[in-house]
């Protein structure tokens, strides 16, 4: 690991003022420190955010929304009773990710900022346009079975690995950031960038900008009764998704009033298409209606390598996740969160 200077500001203002090109903000460190050890990221200064109290709180907002500070640990958010009751698929997605130890350290801001798990990005000896612009993409001719099928370019076929960001995208979360030019809001749909011909630009953040909180809008809480996260992976726990789905419905009897759907692990950002959600409005929650929405969501999907299977897998996962959400949010977090092998006989909150 390259030597760095270490500073520990106690306010966001001080953290931003301390930023210089070459510096990196440190949250829980579970991704950043790992990448520093293998030489993928080599900051010359670490700005430790761990003692900044203003980044800490979870606030339930009047009217139904929430504001979550960037330094809230993943496990603290998932097990916050009020938050998990209002946004159950966010809690389920967080608990479907990583391990107990990692969730205790990893932060909400760090989850938004985490890097792709593409093996070639993580190997400094491989060509990777995302890590080293212009060097090429070793993944195109390499092991790409779990890489992107939507929104990819010839320059980069990496996927965003986050579970938490998938339901946040479905629910229209807003990312609050602060930087040298002050504070601003970034809709989560605009936060992660598709690769295009500049895959090294991973987020909408400007140099020195820092995630300070995420906000869930009031209407996001309308989906609490019918909201699920489904994660398909090679083993049931502690593995990244091949495909994941956040699916939520607002039902009036047997009629869908509103729907929210986002796909994870298929693109460099959580994949949401509001036109696919609109197809469900006014429909009964049937497999046929869900299949039409899935097709619309996956429009334009194409294999970037040996990953064409993910398109059909995603289509079926969307239908399954919508069926799970139509059945109702479980009263208690399933023993295996987000698993297709979860206990489907558990009691549901709406009956």
């Amino acid at each position: 690991m390259k030597r760095f200077d270490y500073i520990r500001p106690v306010s966001v203002d001080d953290a931003v003022a301390a930023f210089r090109p070459g510096a990196a903000y440190l949250g829980g460190g579970t991704n950043l420190l790992d990448l520093m050890k293998i030489g993928v990221i080599q900051p010359d200064t670490l700005i430790d955010l761990g003692r900044i109290a203003e980044l800490g709180p979870i606030e339930m907002l009047p009217g139904g929304g929430a504001r979550v500070g960037a330094l809230v640990r993943n496990s603290d958010l998932a097990y916050d009773r009020a938050f998990a009751a209002a946004f159950p698929m966010v809690a389920e997605a967080i608990l479907a990710g990583a391990s107990g130890q990692l969730r205790n350290a990893a932060t909400v801001g760090g989850n938004l900022m985490q890097k792709t798990r593409c093996a070639y990005f993580q190997d400094p000896h491989s060509a990777c346009n995302r890590r080293e612009p212009g060097s090429g993409c070793a993944a195109r001719g390499g092991d790409n079975a779990n890489l992107a099928v939507l929104g990819w370019s010839d320059a980069c076929i990496a996927t965003n690995p986050s579970d938490m960001c998938v339901p946040l995208a479905a629910l229209g979360a807003v990312v609050e950031v602060q930087g040298p030019a002050g504070k601003r809001d970034i809709p989560i749909a605009d936060f992660h960038q598709l690769p295009g011909d500049q895959p090294e630009t991973e987020t909408a953040l400007q140099p020195g900008e820092l995630v300070i909180a995420i906000r869930l809008p009031t209407e996001a809480a309308d989906f609490a009764r019918n909201a699920r996260y489904l994660k398909v992976r090679e083993r049931t726990s502690f593995a990244f998704a091949l495909v994941s789905v956040a699916a939520a419905l607002k039902l009036d009897g047997q009629k869908i009033i509103a729907a929210r759907i986002a796909l994870g692990a298929v693109a460099a950002k959580p994949w949401r298409v509001t036109a696919a959600e609109d197809l469900l409005v006014g429909q009964a929650p049937t497999e046929e209606a869900f299949a039409r929405a899935a097709d619309a969501l996956l429009e334009g999907a194409r294999a970037s390598g040996d990953n064409g299977y993910k398109i059909e897998l995603a289509r079926r996962a969307v239908i399954r996740a919508l069926q799970m959400s139509a059945a109702g949010t479980p009263k208690r977090m399933p023993a295996l969160p987000a698993s297709p092998f979860g206990d489907v006989a558990e009691e549901h909150s709406h009956v």
Binding site: R3, Y6, D34, D48, G100, A105, P337
Partner: protein
């Protein structure tokens, strides 16, 4: 630049001078404080062998920089037993054959202690397996590990009930 930090390690105050901020908590424990019970497996947060409690929460000590932990309360496997009396989780691992080679065991036990105090798994074997998935065991003693954690959870709950009765 040198960094001075103070830690409570297994109940004892330790003051440490770090001449390099790159030192992880894992390396500090093993190389500087001679607490080699905490194991280095992958050094990347994937195997769980380095699990310790920081302020009562289980984390991977390989992914925590020591310099960030100034003032923290650290518990390692060395501090778990009460003299010659094993902690209930340690006793349960022996009773249920929760290990074979033993390399992952300190991390497994510290992770189990953390899991039990989190209180979300209870004595449901499926929830225990899910909660312990951050600890790999290449001898595959998983069956015994799950039994040990379930058993220790029950015994610790009984002890708490007796104390509060």
């Amino acid at each position: 630049m040198s960094y001075s930090i103070s830690l409570t390690v297994n109940g004892a105050q330790r003051r440490v001078q770090l001449d390099d901020p790159r030192v992880t908590l894992l390396d500090l424990l093993r190389e500087r404080l001679d607490l080699t019970g905490t194991k280095k497996g992958c050094d990347r947060g994937q195997c769980g062998a380095c699990t310790v409690l920081v302020d009562g929460r289980r984390i991977n000590s390989c992914l925590a920089l020591a310099v960030t932990l100034d003032g923290a309360d650290i518990s390692t496997i060395e501090g778990l037993a009460d003299g010659d009396t094993l902690h209930p989780v340690q006793a349960a691992f022996i009773e249920h054959d929760g290990f074979q080679c033993g390399y992952c065991t300190p991390g497994q036990i510290m992770s189990a202690v953390g899991l039990i105090s989190e209180g979300h798994a209870g004595d449901d074997p499926e929830r225990v397996r899910e909660g312990m998935s951050g600890n790999l065991c290449r001898c595959a003693a998983y069956h015994g590990i799950t039994e040990a954690v379930v058993d220790a959870t029950r015994r610790m709950a009984e002890t708490t009930e007796r104390k509060s009765a």
